[in-house]
C-alpha cells in the first residue's frame, strides 16, 4: 500500500510540475477573431456584486482593472447586457443563466465568419456566478474570496479574442485560486497575444 501511494504521489508531482512549466505559449480563440477597431468598448453594469464591500460593489475596481490590456475603453453603464448586441458588457450581479455551479465567470462572444478569414467579434458579455464571494482592489483584505479584478481582466482577454496560456502567473492562465492577485497584471505572454491580434 505504501508503494502504491508513493507511486501515485510521484506521478502527481510530475504532472503538477509539468503543467506549471514556465513556457511562452499564448493562444488565440479559434477561429482567429478580433474587434474591427480599437479601443474596444467594454461597459461594466452599474449594479455590482453584493459580496464586494467597496463603495460600488466592485464596479469601479473592474472598470479600472480591465484597462490593463491597453486597448480597452471602459466605463460603468446603467444598461444591462444585451446578448448579441454590442457593446461588450460585464455583469457582476448575475450568472446570466449560464454560469452556475463550478463556473466563476463566463464570457459569451458572438462573431460573424467572414469569407476572407478575417473574422470580426460583434459582441461579448461576461456573467458572474453569484454563489461565490469576491474581493476587489477597493477592499482592505482578502480572505477566501476570488479576486474580481483578476477574474475580469482574464475574461476581457477572451472578449478581445485571446485564449488560454500555459504560463503560470499569466493573466490568461486558466486556473485561479482564492486571493490570487496575479491575473491583475499582464505577463509578457499576455501582451504578446494582444499584440498578435491588434
Amino acid at each position: 500500500m505504501r508503494k502504491q501511494t508513493l507511486f501515485a504521489l510521484t506521478i502527481t508531482t510530475i504532472l503538477v510540475a509539468a503543467s506549471a512549466s514556465p513556457v511562452l505559449a499564448y493562444t488565440l480563440l479559434s477561429p482567429r477573431r478580433r474587434w474591427a477597431t480599437t479601443p474596444v468598448t467594454v461597459r461594466v453594469y452599474s449594479v455590482g456584486n453584493s459580496t464586494i464591500t467597496d463603495a460600488d460593489h466592485g464596479v469601479s475596481a473592474v472598470v479600472s482593472a480591465i484597462r490593463a490590456w491597453g486597448i480597452i475603453s471602459s466605463s460603468s453603464t446603467t444598461s444591462a447586457a444585451v446578448r448579441g448586441s454590442a457593446p461588450a458588457t460585464i455583469m457582476l450581479n448575475t450568472d446570466g443563466g449560464v454560469c452556475t455551479g463550478s463556473c466563476l465567470a463566463a464570457t459569451l462572444t458572438g462573431y460573424y465568419v467572414s469569407q476572407t478569414g478575417d473574422d470580426r467579434i460583434y459582441d461579448a458579455d461576461i456573467y458572474t456566478n453569484q454563489a461565490y464571494d469576491y474581493y476587489s482592489s477597493g477592499e482592505s483584505s482578502c480572505s477566501g474570496e476570488y479576486d474580481i479584478n483578476g477574474i475580469m481582466t482574464h475574461e476581457v482577454g477572451h472578449v478581445i479574442g485571446i485564449g488560454h496560456s500555459s504560463v503560470a502567473g499569466a493573466t490568461m492562465y486558466p486556473s485561479v485560486g482564492a486571493c490570487n492577485l496575479n491575473p491583475r497584471s499582464l505577463a509578457s505572454d499576455d501582451i504578446a497575444a494582444r499584440d498578435d491580434l491588434y
Binding site: Q4, F7, A8, I11, T12, L15, V16, A18, S19, S21, V23, L24, A25, Y26, T27, L28, L29, S30, R32, V82, R83, G84, G97, V98, G101, S102, C103, L104, A105, A106, T107, L108, T109, G110, Y111, Y112, V113, Y122, I151, H154, E155, H158, G163, H164, S165, S166, Y173, P174, S175, V176, G177, A192, A193, D196
Partner: protein, 192 residues
C-alpha cells in the same frame, strides 16, 4: 486496485489541465457524481442550434441515445441535452471554455436539469463530459480535448500538457460512481 488508483489520479489531473476550462473550479469526483441528476453512457446524435425565444442566446441541442445509466438512476432510452453556444446562419455565439456537442460522439455524461426542465445540461461543464475511446481493445474514458473557442493556434511551446493515460474503464467508473453516491470516499479532493 493499484492500476485503478493510478488511473484515477491521472484522470483527475487530465480533467484539471489548463485547456480544460475558462475560470471554473474543479470539483472532486465524489461531488461531481453526487450532484449529477443522471450519469449516462451514450452516443450523441441529431445536433442542432437555435436562438432562444428572446433571440439573445444560441443553444445547441443533441439527443443522447443512452446505452447505460450509472449509479442508482435509470431513465428513458433517449435524452435531450442542451448547451449554450452554437451557430445559426453565419453568426456564431460561443461560451468560451464550455463543452461542445458533436454528432456521433460516444460519451459518458454527468447531467443536471436546466431550470426549465425541458432538457439536461452537462454538469460541471467539461468535467462532466468524457469521451469513450478504444485503447488496446478496451473502452476507456478520456477528457474531451475540444471546448468552445478552443485555441488551436499556439505560439511557442504546446499550449497545454496532454496526458496520454490509459483512462478508466467503464466498469471502473461505475464502481466509483456507486461509491460516491453511497457516500464512500473515492479520491482525494482536488480543486483548482
Amino acid at each position: 486496485m493499484h492500476r485503478r488508483s493510478i488511473a484515477l489520479v491521472v484522470l483527475v489531473f487530465a480533467l484539471a489541465l489548463p485547456l480544460s476550462a475558462s475560470q471554473f473550479l474543479q470539483l472532486p469526483f465524489d461531488r461531481l457524481a453526487r450532484e449529477s441528476t443522471l450519469i449516462v453512457r451514450g452516443t450523441l446524435g441529431n445536433t442542432w442550434s437555435a436562438w432562444d425565444d428572446a433571440h439573445q442566446v444560441i443553444y445547441t441541442y443533441a439527443t443522447v441515445r443512452v446505452q447505460r445509466y450509472f449509479g442508482e438512476s435509470t431513465g428513458p432510452d433517449t435524452l435531450l441535452v442542451r448547451e449554450v453556444g452554437g451557430t445559426v446562419g453565419d453568426y456564431t455565439q460561443e461560451a468560451i471554455g464550455f463543452p461542445t456537442l458533436r454528432d456521433g460522439q460516444d460519451v459518458v455524461l454527468f447531467l443536471g436539469k436546466w431550470e426549465d426542465g425541458v432538457a439536461y445540461r452537462i454538469h460541471a461543464y467539461n468535467q462532466g463530459k468524457l469521451l469513450v475511446s478504444m485503447r488496446g481493445g478496451v473502452e476507456r474514458l478520456v477528457e474531451d480535448p475540444e471546448r468552445q473557442g478552443e485555441a488551436r493556434e499556439s505560439h511557442g511551446a504546446a499550449p497545454a500538457l496532454r496526458v496520454e493515460s490509459e483512462g478508466l474503464t467503464i466498469d471502473e467508473l461505475a464502481e466509483m460512481v456507486d461509491a460516491a453516491r453511497a457516500g464512500r470516499p473515492v479520491a482525494e479532493r482536488q480543486q483548482q
